[in-house]
Each structure stands twice: as structure tokens, then as C-alpha cells.
């Protein structure tokens, strides 16, 4: 799924990264705990989070993820948006809560088995085909 599609489905504002909306992402993860993200996220994913500090962006960088969605209508401070921009991370912002955001993306097909994304050690691959 393209990042532009994620933005459309979530009715999200694009805070930075307009030029990268054509990028394909293959999985998503929703969490406010960064170590959970670091443990479980798949390749090339988008992170949905209600947490709003610079560590969210560093977590994405460590994982080679390229898009974050800030949920529940929270608006990220300019410093975070700038840090994301410097590092090529797309920042989206939606009024939807976590459950509905994840539900909409999942229903639209993001992160389902046929996308075939694997965990960083390969242990989270599709196993229900």
C-alpha cells in the first residue's frame, strides 16, 4: 500500500514528507511503547502511535521505517516534525483513535499475509496461508 493511501484511509494530514507519498509500505504497528515496536515491527512499516516525543522518530530510524501516524488528533510539535523531515520520515496526523486507525488499515489489506513481509529475523512471516 502506498503512504498516500494510508493518509487517505485515515483522513490524515501530511505534516512532512509530501514527496514520499508514493512509497510502498507492507506492514503496520500500533503502540505507545517503543520497545514493543522495536521487538515486533516488520520491514518497511508504518508506526501508529499516541506517543509524541523525539524517541518515536529515533525508533523509526533504527527500524528503517519511513512513516509515522500520530493518532487521536494530537498535533506533533514543530521540533519533532523538523527532526523527521531531516531524516526523511513521513509524518501523518489523524483525528481517529488507535483502534479505528488500525482497523481501517487492516480492513484495507495492510499487513495481511499476502503482503509477505517478514520480521527482522524472519520469524514473523506469513504462516496462515
Amino acid at each position: 500500500m502506498k503512504i498516500s493511501e494510508v493518509a487517505r484511509i485515515l483522513n490524515a494530514n501530511v505534516m512532512t514528507g509530501e514527496d514520499k507519498l508514493d512509497m510502498e509500505i507492507h506492514s503496520a504497528c500500533g503502540s505507545d511503547m517503543m520497545s514493543d515496536v522495536l521487538a515486533y515491527v516488520k520491514d518497511q512499516g508504518v508506526l501508529l502511535t499516541g506517543l509524541m516525543n523525539v524517541q518515536v522518530i529515533r525508533t523509526l530510524l533504527m527500524m528503517d521505517m519511513n512513516c509515522v501516524v500520530f493518532i487521536r488528533g494530537k498535533v506533533p510539535p514543530q521540533g519533532i516534525v523538523e527532526f523527521a523531515e531531516e531524516n526523511g520520515v513521513v509524518v501523518l496526523q489523524t483525528a481517529l483513535p488507535m483502534f479505528e486507525s488500525c482497523g481501517r488499515l487492516y480492513a484495507a489489506g495492510l499487513g495481511k499475509a499476502e503482503e509477505g513481509a517478514e520480521g527482522i529475523n524472519g520469524e514473523y512471516g506469513a504462516d496462515d496461508e
Binding site: D32, M33, M34, S35, D36, L38, A39, T49, L51, N53, V54, Q55, V56, R58, T59, L61, M62, M63, D64, I120, N121
Partner: protein, 141 residues
């Protein structure tokens, strides 16, 4: 490892906002050196968890990266409170982080297990009241 490339970082224990900078820098260095991306990602995640731990649990410390053609070693050394029970600390979900740390997105008790998962070898040397040194080893060949 006398012929190793060596990079040193001071990890500032007073600044949560700066925590993770050494890991971001290291990631850039490893990219420039042409280390395979999958290995870089494992190193980045493990080092970042260790760096955050040094800041939230141990008032900061020293991070060192040693690189040879065969191995990469990351050491994270602090003179913080030490870990009372390493076996317990290694369990997924075990955390002593207070609520104010959880509000910052840390304290799930996943950091040490992640470091183990994303390294080839991990050694923890810790003494209560003295400090903690963690070694993360990666074999490139």
C-alpha cells in the same frame, strides 16, 4: 582487537531528548562502511535499547563501537545502580521503570530481551552500586 576502528560516544544521562543520538550516529557510520543493512538494523536496535537504558536507569555513560572485518563489538558502560537480578531483568515484561518513564514510551520490559534477540552474543557485567557494562557482539563472517 588492536587493529579495530574505534568510535566513542558520551551518553548524556541528564537528557532524555538526546538519548539515542549515539545509536543514530553509529548507524550512519556503519552505512558508510558498507555493513549489510540487516546487520546494521540489528545493531541499531540493540544499541539504541542499551543507550536508552543507560539514560533512564543509570545516569548515562560511555558507548564504544569497535569494528574489524570479522566482528563488530558495541560496549555500553555505566556507573549506575547496577542490575540486582540479571535473570529477572532479562525476562520480557520485567521493568522497574516508574510511571513517568512509561509516559515517555519506555518501561515495557522489552529492552534487554531485544538486545539479546538482536545480537549474536551479549554479555552483561553488573554489580549493584558499581555499574553495568554490556557487550553486544556481531560476527560478520
Amino acid at each position: 582487537m588492536s587493529e579495530a576502528l574505534h568510535y566513542h560516544f558520551d551518553v548524556d544521562g541528564a537528557s532524555f531528548a538526546n538519548a539515542g543520538k549515539a545509536s543514530v550516529e553509529t548507524k550512519k557510520l556503519l552505512r558508510q562502511l558498507g555493513v549489510p543493512p540487516e546487520i546494521i538494523r540489528r545493531i541499531s536496535v540493540a544499541m539504541y535499547e542499551g543507550e536508552i537504558n543507560m539514560v533512564i536507569h543509570a545516569h548515562g555513560g560511555d558507548a564504544d563501537v569497535y569494528i574489524t572485518p570479522e566482528t563488530i563489538l558495541i560496549t555500553l558502560k555505566d556507573v549506575g545502580p547496577g542490575i540486582r537480578n540479571v535473570e529477572e531483568a532479562m525476562k520480557e515484561g520485567f521493568s522497574t521503570a516508574p510511571e513517568n518513564i512509561r509516559a515517555l514510551g519506555f518501561g515495557a520490559g522489552m529492552g534487554l530481551p531485544n538486545m539479546k534477540r538482536y545480537s549474536d552474543d551479549m554479555h552483561i557485567d553488573t554489580r549493584v552500586g558499581v555499574g553495568t557494562t554490556i557487550e553486544l557482539w556481531y560476527h560478520l563472517t
